[in-house]
Symmetry: C2
Subunit: 574 residues, 2 copies
């Protein structure tokens, strides 16, 4: 086997370096060499160089940079895929290999990304507790894993519901979302050029791509829901699987008998796919064809290794409808379907709500685990209140962080435009950053020590007044820097030993430095602090303390110039 | 007693109506008449008028509008205060009256605001489980209550740490923060004109005002921490109490023996007041004078009814330092001080962290309750990760919502500029909105049915495509409207029966409308859905269903014009 590595032209690498430098100054993409069965895997990370000579490697989703969109990304996994033997019925899923004890190159790759053994990855996949989305027709993707015993992942939605978005724009969206940290991308396009757009997106996506195939199926019948049928749907699945879609949202759990359970709801059915299938069921008075023909879906998806993302078509659309009978009836059906998919060795994750008050979030995770045999949970938010349209990235980041802590494996982002309009580039970034926060907070709460390294590095930089390092370690370095510049624009302020908020003589960290220096000079420790002798030392300190008091007085002289009038300036919390 | 009501001049009322209309269209400030012991109390609310003729009253902190800043707000409580008899030592605290079984006008007022009985308010105050900050020298304030059995409150910090901010600007900050929902304001000024600024702020603040008096005391000794002493501090307290400050943050729990406990911390002492007192203790090798003279503080504060906000000078400043020995040692001391203050009938709340990972948040509330006898908890955030400077309103809104749910009574906001610079007007608004979200999410999780009314009203408006009502019910109506306008600017779109995100034929709510109409026409209910006869009805529906299918087709024709190219447009989540 030949070594697999991204082919980056010198020119492209140069432009990519500029892009990366703008978003992540002092960072570089590095590859860790991992040897696996004769293959040399190159596992990516972003290395943040710090001013003290150390560095921190962080998980990186941005993919090889500087690649021409027309050519597409390097086909990283092509050789890995080529050398594998399919199972019965052509099954090539990661679950298939895992259950037979095989560690694939993809498993070795994600193990290196996650910091665990490849055997652990294999066992989690075999047990159904994790999903490694890796369509054999999307060899450009860098393997990643979704499961409760791995880092919490986030998904960003792209695609356009209006006509007229160019294909280049869609490719740019994937690059933008993954640059800021999206672990997967769902292409929810419903407009023109749906096939060509998806092709361009997949060829340029370094992360797994999900879709909701019913949207394209509906386009094929001109929007007439009742004209949908299983053959048309399977044809659509095949088309998308051949292009390399890594997971399909399928609303196979919306059953005819569930629909009346939504009749007393405040906001009915809010999933597009769910409402489409509900209408189809009612109009035909037949059971959902995705449910009745579910095994045919499994067979097809096994041939490509497309994972199921079993859609929660009856998820609650408001606080009032949370955790109701309709929602949990569907979840029970999703559990039934999970077992069928597993029998076919197809990978499965389960989609979750939606809108849920904080006190009812945990119940969702517990029910999902119990009903769906531990398949990874993939939730939209949930939003913890309905009263803040325009800020639903925040109402939902609260719920996302909590549900992530309780065991959700992937969080589907929500942008500030949710419920109101179509997100633009900045909205996508706001959504991704809010969800990186939620996912990371969940990783910390789960006790992930590797995740903690970044918090500790940033806090240490903060305490040591290494401003540049604080920016470089931040989720969004340019924003952190620009906020600092607004108050203290002078370059010298980046070396200042005081907080920009408080000024030098009120800076607690500055005073703590003084306290520690005094303590060190005097040999203070906890025991000694209680000793009588300390009083004498304290007097020495006062008598000879000009330097310390002097520091305060000198610091006053360095106090920052007042900012310009106009915008009110407000002090930070004590 | 005469009726107390705001004196609004016709001119001022007119300008205020314009201001309110800009931020809260279709809203008006209303007063509910409450009779109490011969007084006619006028309890404010904001009434949101909806397009269906109904209205919703929401809690309102904005105060009487259109008042000249030089004249100050009407002295609402002046007559209430005048007719009360002080207790021993001149004690006039709400706790004093509550413990003697007296229901004050303030208690009756907050009971009406909260929707409970005045006796319940009294009993919570007497038990120390709530604080009603109401300095007798701040008669302009509209009474509010902070306690675990009431709505969760939020505090906004104002004040300026640089020189040169005008007094008018500070007044404008209070108006701005309370317009968006701040329940109290802390004036953290440390610059020039500190006395005059505070005077203007208090005379124009409809909400209780808190301060950290050590800041001004330190100004009086030219920033030389070691020169601080109890007499200077008490003189400063008296000065500020006379002006009408409603609660004082006092770092009396930072003891000499606690300081060494911080020596191994990643970020030491991050509270300004805490670091000042730690330095004072070490330099003098004496116990904190705020601790040793605590009863003198109690006596003074009882004369005015200034509440203690016992500062957590040793709160953790990063995830690594959360819930450590230093933090909880101080908390134990705060419990000891709480009991002393209560003996003097002085009201007490307890400040809390800071930076805490989600899995360790609950422990903070439980320890505070146990150690401090149920005194209200007042927390800063907490931030749930350190890695997102520039977004700490979000990292902390997650923690604030959770700690609010678990029992915290007031949440001190954090703005996007935290750790980086001084917040401007928009940052203040971002901080307030993020914290209104957190507080409201906590109210919902605590099962507050009144809080739920707003979620339900907004969700109902959403389901019924009443776009204007959605905006009017939102926490930030202008932002919600502007986001909708970006995608669908035409006025007609505000009447459209489809989501702006999905367009008409993919709108789940639109399809649900169709499903429900069909169900209603056919008399569908859960039982009937399972009946054989439904199949026949379904066939009728298909045969006669032109209207329904037609709706879809017609809807396609109404599909919104594509938005302008340039900004990438991304589809919402399925």
């Amino acid at each position: 086997m030949h070594e697999q590595h991204p082919t980056e032209s010198p020119h492209a690498a140069e432009s990519s370096a500029r892009e990366m430098a703008a978003s992540f100054p002092n960072s570089e993409r590095v590859y860790r060499a991992v040897s696996h069965g004769g293959l040399d895997l190159r596992v990516p990370a972003r290395r943040i160089h710090l001013s003290d000579g150390s560095s921190l490697d962080v998980y990186d989703t941005s993919g090889p940079a500087g690649v021409d969109a027309a050519a597409g990304l390097p086909r990283l996994r092509e050789a890995w895929i080529a050398r594998r033997e399919p199972g019965n019925g052509g099954c090539v899923t990661q679950r298939h290999y895992a259950r037979r004890g095989v560690v694939t190159a993809e498993m070795a790759f994600v193990a290196a990304r996650e910091g665990c053994t490849a055997e652990f990855v294999r066992d989690e996949l075999a047990a159904g507790r994790a999903v490694l989305p890796a369509n054999r027709c999307h060899p450009e993707s860098e393997p990643m894993i979704i499961g409760r015993n791995f880092l919490v992942k986030i998904n960003a939605n792209i695609g356009n519901s209006a006509v007229g978005s160019s294909i280049d724009e869609e490719v740019e969206k994937v690059r933008w979302a993954t640059r800021w940290g999206a672990d997967t991308a769902m292409d929810l396009s419903t407009g023109n050029d749906i096939h060509a757009t998806r092709e361009a997106v997949i060829r340029n996506s370094p992360v797994p791509v999900g879709t909701v195939p019913i949207y394209q199926a509906l386009e094929k019948v001109n929007g007439v829901i009742e004209d949908l049928d299983i053959d048309l749907f399977l044809e659509t699945l095949r088309e998308q699987a051949e292009q390399g879609v890594d997971y399909f949202t399928v609303h196979a759990g919306v059953l005819l008998r569930h629909v009346p359970l939504t009749s007393e709801r405040l906001t009915g059915i809010v999933s597009r796919g769910g409402s489409i299938m509900a209408k189809w069921c009612l109009a035909h008075h037949e059971e959902n064809f995705l449910y009745t023909h579910f095994e045919r879906l499994c067979e097809l998806m096994g041939e490509y290794d497309v994972a199921f993302s079993l859609g929660d078509g009856l998820r609650p659309g408001c606080i009032a409808d949370a955790n109701d009978e309709a929602q949990f009836a569907e979840l029970e059906t999703l559990g039934e379907l999970t077992r069928i998919a597993w029998e076919h060795d197809v990978q499965v994750m389960i989609e979750g709500p939606g809108h849920v008050p904080m006190d009812r979030i945990r119940e969702n995770v517990e029910k999902e685990e119990a009903l769906c045999g531990g398949a990874p949970f993939y939730t939209l938010g949930p939003l913890t209140t309905d009263i803040a349209p325009g800020y639903d990235h925040i109402t939902s980041a609260i719920g996302a962080a909590m549900i992530g802590w309780h065991g959700t494996s992937m969080l589907c982002y929500v942008t500030p435009k949710e419920h109101l309009g179509l997100p633009d580039a900045d909205d996508v970034k706001q959504g991704v950053i809010a969800y990186k926060i939620a996912a990371h907070a969940a990783d910390l709460a789960r006790g992930n020590t590797r995740a903690r390294e970044r918090d500790d590095a940033l806090s240490k930089a903060r305490f040591e007044f290494r401003w540049e390092d604080q920016f470089h370690l931040a989720l969004d370095p340019p924003t952190a820097r620009s906020y600092h510049d607004e108050t203290l624009p002078a370059p010298a302020a980046k070396q200042a030993h005081f907080c920009s908020m408080c000024g030098p003589h009120f800076c607690s960290m500055k005073i703590t430095e003084d306290v520690r220096r005094f303590a060190a000079e005097q040999g203070l420790d906890e025991g000694r602090a209680l000793e009588e002798g300390l009083r004498a030392k304290s007097e020495e300190f006062r008598a000879g303390g000009a330097a310390l008091y002097g520091t305060d007085r000198e610091a006053r002289a360095q106090e920052p110039e007042p900012v310009e009038a106009g915008a009110p300036r407000v002090a930070p919390p004590d």
